[in-house]
Symmetry: D2
Subunit: 335 residues, 4 copies
């Protein structure tokens, strides 16, 4: 962090600021020019609030050089984090397929889809029990009942389960759930993140619709700072001016997040595209760019799905895609 | 709502769709062209899920004509909603000033600021107890203690209090709070909105950083659909490519939200600007465009504020601004 | 500008960089820490290409402290620029109304509108001859003929004319035009800006739909660097996720641009709103925030306008608005 | 296109509107409900100005069903357009590599890079002669001299040339250039597009930083409507809130543009990323998603490049990447 001081700052004022900085365990390094004094901060600046420094009367500007996150930072943790969930391994060069319906609708539906996606190579089952919907009049998910049905499917197929939590009051229901998903709209629900820090379970953290990489990593930092290192980052499309697709997949998030952080990065091509026929090319792109996994919506009868049918693959489509991804992944290994 | 059907749809398929539509209490009106059949839906379409219709095999496109919200819609409730909080009246042509510090920091601080803003004409005291911060290492607010101090300030000055809730587990602490604020990052925390629908207290609902008017009104609709009609809409700046200001105040939100809805509209120029010297011109603009109120950050010593000091007014600045706003409001009455 | 060097940079490499910097007439000021060396540049850094410095092998990061524009910068030119066009004075605390139709359609239309807006207090007539349209199949303006009709209206009413140029090949036709408008889509048409720098005529420069204040000021800088100081900045709404309004008026642009620059700032509420009934509240907001002028679309029969009818005021609406603005401006003077 | 009429519209008014519609060669199809009358338009609606219909007094809303472009529309031209430039073939399933420096800097530089990229498999040489720069003080390109040097490199290597035009006054200089590039900032320079429609040369049309697919295709439509069918669409990253990368590559543009249009789609990973090490993963993603080609910045000494060095590959990097792309493309053929 570099603090640029205003002209005419006195030696006493500079000394005071140096004192504040030292109290945060950081070493100030002062460089006095004819017109301008600059203070460089050496050490761990993640705990320094850039805003409270900026508003001091003697400060003209503050520029951050280091990232404000530490636990999630690859600089302090060079090796890939690898997360194990049942037989699935996420991170470290593998390609993990997560698949299942937008919403759990019935026991028959979820077990049928679970068996299908398992036979095509999915290692984790997804399915929504609590559904965040823009309208209070839209289907809100089967809620508690949905969680029970997911656990039935787990018993039947052996697949571990990932499903979304919407509020920390629901946490008790997630005891036997394997991976807790935090949805895009809750990425900055900081009270929830803190509790998930205490939960000890892997968390699939979705990037908010208009959030930056740094904000995503700061939310991961919340979970990690409260004791939980098992965070999976998920890019699911951001909001842009393009409305032909539901959202815009930011494919650069794969190399960028992997450079900034050691955490695994998973892509959700279904919500990114919103259109089933684009799920395949986006999945291929994700794997080609180095993603650690994919989370894909699969429904036994998309035209009757209670939500997101337009972006769901049939089990047959998913099977075809899984085969293509396998060929691609092998080619990547050679290249 | 208008449903455009694909070519070659059979009479039987159209009849089936008409049946589905009727089951939602809406009358289908079919117009059969040579190439294209169109079904117009007459009645209350707010409860029809546009998405589930879109994904049907015979449907080419669906276009919504009416707004998907009803309780918040001015069409069904032409008169302005007016909300009374202590002596304050929000909506219906009045101009209500809400002021106070970003964070409650100490009893002395909050009482001193409360007395100051009251004497300048503020009718409600704002102050953060629970603070949503991007970094887990930043000051998180005094929390329970902050609520207590706000209630001390209420006792001292008689000013009603508005403060932010971050999670529904905190709801019990808000018993004596007058207006519950939902922050921008929680605008689509639907579980929280539902509970606030049951709370019976006025809710100040802030627009999310990248949300549309319709999404804001759908979040208001959540609160209203669960039984609480006292919702105050708050525009606090949206995220745009411009980073010179902290956010971008969308001043058109004032006439637009007032046209779409009967709910009062309040502007937060402090978070919109992020720079104290712009708070005055933005406040003037808000009143000139017809806003029902302003929520402004005032701190006794901005350069030492624990958060948002850069955008806080001193009590003196606020007093000067309040006088200017008074002159402006009078001129508006003549114009 | 501050250059942060990578660790292990040698003394020789630092000396070489200092040499490069000096060759741009800027004094390097080196501060060597234990881990990090920082080079602060003192002097006029507008001519230093931040990008070419960033890509040097020894450079970790570069942070700009000063703005990259100079001619347009209030720091080097503290007094407001005031531009005189006929009887109109733009800048320096006055409020100038510019009004007229989106497109010139006929002699009768333009003269009738010109007389009307003049009688309501407009000081400059606007009207499009060359029209940038998204579709090649839409009305492209009367072009040369439109310029002639504008000059007829000027002769008839004495009002100076502002109209848009779309390509520098059209420049000869603008000989008798008083103010040349550069549209939002041409804000970064750098070849055009250079020529307008030579033209000696006032230029009304519209902000691009997704451009920042700095980019707008850099485009003004192009015109000024090539010799023309008469630039009027125009905020006309930016593109955001909100589509209920045509664009989103960035009202903070008024205080922000006036702080950064000495150039006058004019607001176009018609293109910002896209809806006639919002033109009045946005115009009021613009004046309350300190704008130097307004450019408003007025059409004698909006429902038959060849473009932008939905956002055009009738002459009667404009007259009512002009009276309200007058009252507001007077109140501002008192406040 | 569907026109929703206001309640209480008279039969005579509807008939008048039907007449207007028919005059555009489109058949109106009226469906009269109890409350609402809907007019569906059957036929080619590309020439109907949706805006001028919207502003009619009897119209409540207009919704477009068909795309407003025709020449560029795959519906009317199902087969892929294939463009031949020298030995290069763009479109129809091939993968064409276009490579070269951001700017032409000297004869030695451009010839050396040209030979290098040719030997790695590039089929077209890129290089900037006219450079659009945000700052008037930045290097503006070698201009005429740059064009001459590109033609030297063409003579030396046989590679066809693509280079950017910034203004139509430069068109004469492009006589021997093979593909004319329209930069992102000129995507809606409609006068330039019209002239390129007459030029008969292939045009590489870059998507604007904040433009939609439809706007890009409407700009292609300009070129095609004026007689030139050889348009190559180029996605080069859009502006989003993420600033870690220079722009955000919208990878969905590949399947989306290819579904909407028959024109070839090329990806520019260099400008999208702005960071050399991300060019490889983004290139892989582009090919995996089905792109017809890549345009990549390659410089013999990136740290000394006059522009965009930070995003340029060395010839060695490019050679490695080309080999990986070859393996990927072969795998795609199997998959």
């Amino acid at each position: 962090m570099i603090i640029i001081l205003k002209e005419n700052t006195t030696a006493q004022e500079i000394e005071n600021l140096a004192g504040i900085v030292k109290s945060h365990g950081v070493v100030p390094h002062i460089s006095q020019g004819m017109h301008q004094t600059i203070m460089g901060l050496v050490g761990d600046t993640t705990r320094i609030d850039i805003e409270s420094i900026s508003q001091l009367k003697i400060v003209e500007a503050v520029r951050r050089i280091q990232e404000p996150f530490k636990n999630a930072n690859r600089k302090f943790h060079p090796l890939d984090t690898v997360i194990k969930v049942g037989d699935a391994v996420i991170g470290g060069g593998s390609l993990t397929l997560i698949a299942g319906p937008c919403s759990v609708e019935s026991e028959e539906q979820i077990i049928s889809v679970a068996r299908n996606v398992k036979s095509s190579g999915a290692k984790i089952l997804r399915g929504g029990a609590f559904k965040p919907r823009t309208s209070p009049y839209a289907f809100q998910g089967l809620r508690e009942e949905g969680i029970k049905l997911l656990l039935e499917a787990k018993k039947d197929t052996g697949l571990p389960i990932v499903t979304e939590i919407m509020d920390l009051s629901q946490l008790d229901l997630f005891d036997e759930i394997d991976v807790i998903q935090v949805g895009a709209r809750n990425m900055q629900n900081f009270e929830l993140l803190k509790q998930l820090g205490h939960s000890g379970k892997p968390v699939l953290l979705k990037r908010g619709l208009s959030n930056t990489y740094q904000e995503l990593l700061m939310s991961a930092e919340y979970i990690m700072a409260f004791g939980n290192e098992q965070v999976i980052l998920c890019e699911r499309g951001i909001r842009t001016f393009e409305t032909y697709t539901r959202n815009t997949l930011d494919i650069s998030a794969v190399p960028a997040l992997k450079k900034l952080s050691h955490l695994p990065v998973v892509i959700d091509p279904s919500h990114a595209a919103g259109i089933a026929e684009f799920v395949s090319p986006l999945s291929m792109a994700a794997v080609a760019s180095g993603a650690d996994g994919l989370i894909i919506e699969v429904h036994n009868d998309p035209s009757k799905a209670k939500c997101d049918g337009a972006q769901s693959l049939t089990p047959e489509n998913f099977d075809t895609l899984a085969k293509k991804l396998h060929i691609l992944k092998n080619a990547m290994a050679e290249a």
